[in-house]
């Protein structure tokens, strides 16, 4: 990769002093990318676009929103009714949150399926988990801002989790609240943090991309590129593919924004917050339901009471992801060549959906049992199955190079051309 020569003299002048154009040329234009990425690789760029959409709509919403317990609910309604296209901004922001989580979850499951967390991409994966954690915090605090019934009670339930911490729990909760109950100071700090955290996410995304570009994308075969014939420049190939994926995503997204804008919302959140009336069921947004299920699944264990055990389990369910690169010793990345892992992967996906379903329902009757089994299986998958599979599974032989199967069925000449270069 040599430095490009730019035609525009001003660009040349700037680039000589601050090589930002060379940087963009290398990272966005000629950036070598495996030629065999399928459409599951679209979700990374979609997540980046979703983040940008959230930040832009969020900043405009912030210009009209009042973080005050007496004004918040009304100011959101004013955005919906009196601000020009305020309803559009808010519905994009509200549904954008769901869309962001959806594409990020698909992105994560893609990483799990194709072993994208394995060496040398462990840090890339861990930075992704950090982004997920930050997203959850941001989304939770954003959910509180409209100051509806579910906003208030979700804030109360989630902040109360910290009271489970031994000795200092009570003090931590009061410190979080800025008082003795969820109130005006809580709303104001949540607003400040909801504005701050997305920019922290942007910073971690930069690191995530930096780590990504060190070795480039993993690919559906999970094998390393053997030579330049296995890679293609990012532009125009993946810019074109990502743009098409974006188009499909926007069609679905617009369907929700314009025709079912409250599909993911709880009706009760259109009732102003009332500390004296508890909603029948307090539930988080759909994307946090599996973790909510884990929180409520754990019973008293020995001397640890259920509340604390649940909180530990919930945080552990995310932190276990940090350890995944070392829990899976299999040398083969892609599940395509791991006959057993492939099946357990889908069982795990089903387990996460079951957890979400349990989280959406009150913890009574068979939901308790199912929730406990699903929670146990969640940890079993990472802590027991992954290490064992890596040891005892007999993976199928992986192809010698990316180019070989990708070009199979294509021109025979292309295959012939790829062959000799492999030996180099």
């Amino acid at each position: 990769m040599s430095a490009p020569t730019f035609k525009n003299p001003l660009v040349r002048w700037i680039d000589h002093r601050l090589p930002v154009f060379t940087f963009m040329h290398h990272e966005l234009n000629v950036y070598p990318t495996p030629r065999n990425l399928n459409y599951w690789w679209n979700y990374g760029s979609l997540a980046g676009i979703a983040l940008m959409v959230m930040i832009v709509t969020g900043i405009v919403l912030a210009m009209h929103y009042s973080p005050d317990v007496n004004l918040a609910f009304g100011s959101v309604e004013r955005i919906m009714r009196d601000v020009n296209y305020g309803w559009l901004l808010r519905y994009i922001h509200v549904n954008g949150g769901s869309a962001f989580f959806l594409v990020v979850y698909i992105h994560i499951f893609r990483g799990l399926y194709y072993g994208s967390y394995k060496a040398p991409r462990e840090l890339l994966w861990m930075l992704g988990v950090v982004i997920l954690l930050l997203m959850m915090m941001t989304a939770f605090m954003g959910y509180v801002l409209p100051w509806g019934q579910m906003s208030f009670w979700a804030a109360t339930v989630i902040t109360n989790l910290f009271s489970a911490v031994p000795l200092v729990g009570e003090a931590i909760v009061n410190w979080l609240w800025g008082g003795f109950s969820v109130g005006d100071p809580t709303l104001k700090r949540f607003y400040a943090l909801h504005y701050l955290l997305p920019f922290v996410i942007v910073a971690v995304v930069v690191l995530h991309l930096w780590a990504l570009h060190r070795f480039g994308s993993n690919n559906p075969l999970g094998i390393d590129a053997k030579g330049p014939q296995d890679k293609i420049p990012f532009h125009p190939y993946y810019t074109a593919k990502d743009l098409f994926g974006l188009g499909v995503f926007l069609v679905v997204f617009a369907g929700f924004v314009f025709f079912a804008p409250n599909f993911f919302s709880e009706p009760v959140n259109y009732i102003p917050a009332n500390p004296f009336v508890t909603p029948l069921h307090i539930v988080p947004e759909w994307y946090l339901l599996p973790f909510y299920a884990i929180l409520r699944a754990v019973p008293d264990i020995l001397f640890i009471e259920a509340k604390l055990a649940g909180v530990i389990a919930m945080f552990a369910s995310i932190f276990v992801l940090f350890l995944l690169p070392w829990l899976d010793p299999s040398p083969v990345r892609s599940a395509r060549f791991r006959p057993l892992y492939k099946q357990f992967f889908w069982v795990f996906v089903a387990d996460c959906i079951v957890l979400g379903w349990v989280g959406a329902n009150p913890p009574v009757g068979h939901f308790i049992v199912i929730g406990r089994i699903a929670t146990a299986y969640y940890f079993l998958h990472f802590l027991v199955l992954m290490p064992l599979l890596g040891k005892f599974e007999r993976p199928q032989p992986v192809p010698a190079s990316i180019g070989e199967p990708a070009l199979k069925g294509g021109a025979a000449a292309a295959g012939a051309r790829a062959k000799p270069m492999e030996k180099a």
Binding site: R81, I232, A254, P267, W286, A360
Partner: protein, 252 residues
């Protein structure tokens, strides 16, 4: 288009994993609403009749505080109509030059005047029950329009095994079947300007249309823009697919 929307909804239901609240009462029967569907719009005549029902019946107890009188122009009232409607109510304004608060007739720019100065006053006047503000009522209840309509026509004699205490009324669709609101609508409670017979069913339907508009005044603009946006995006995405195919042709 309708099928597409249904597919979207079906896919999303799968994702949401039944996140909806558990039903709090029996589901109200489904009505046909002109504002449902991809091309839905409000029926202006029904909206205006519904406003009349709200103004002459509901507004005795229920506020509509997020809606301003000027908004009524959007449902077909003229500026003069709106001025006259607003002027029927009194609001407190001030302080004036002498530092005094004073009463004046409401103006089109004012929000709908609430019947009670505060929640406590509302409770005292209503046997301890608080009549909710109706600005968002159809959005704040699952399946809001059907629920509201069902609630308004759902009064009747309780079944033999249910005793309803004094000051409460039996309602088929209210959670727990006991509601503090007396049956608000009775045959001929209002006299519609357009001569439509004011049956309970008719008034319930019309006021539901009006309050659905009050909750989602952007609905018509939203759906109009949505149809255009979707058409554009589908065509544009088709073109992007062609570009992708063309670019990748060299590789395959």
């Amino acid at each position: 288009m309708r099928r597409f929307a249904m597919m979207l909804a079906a896919a999303a239901i799968g994702l949401a994993g039944g996140a909806a609240l558990a039903a709090e009462g029996p589901a109200a029967p489904e009505q046909t609403w002109s504002f449902a569907g991809l091309f839905g719009t409000f029926d202006r005549a029904a909206q205006q009749r519904g406003f009349q029902v709200y103004n002459q019946v509901c507004s005795a107890c229920h506020g509509l505080s997020f809606v301003a009188y000027r908004n009524l122009e959007a449902i077909g009232f003229t500026a003069d109509d709106v001025k006259a409607i607003a002027a029927e109510r009194e609001v407190t304004d001030g302080p004036n030059d002498e530092g005094e608060m004073y009463q004046r007739p409401a103006r089109p720019s004012d929000a709908f005047v609430s019947p009670f100065p505060n929640d406590q006053a509302a409770r005292v006047a209503n046997n301890g029950a608080l009549p909710p503000d109706l600005s968002l009522i159809t959005k704040a209840r699952p399946d809001g329009a059907n629920y509201l309509h069902g609630l308004l026509v759902g009064y009747g004699e309780p079944p033999a095994d249910l005793t309803v205490p004094d000051g409460m009324y039996y309602n088929a669709y209210f959670a727990g079947h006991q509601i503090a609101m007396p049956p608000p609508l009775s045959e001929g409670a209002v006299e519609f300007a357009d001569g439509t017979p004011a049956t309970v069913e008719q008034m319930a339907e019309d006021v539901t249309v009006f309050l659905s508009w009050a909750a989602e005044p952007e609905l018509e603009a939203r759906k109009r823009m949505g149809v255009k946006t979707l058409l554009f995006l589908i065509v544009f995405t088709g073109m992007l697919y062609a570009v992708k195919r063309k670019v990748w042709m060299k590789l395959h």
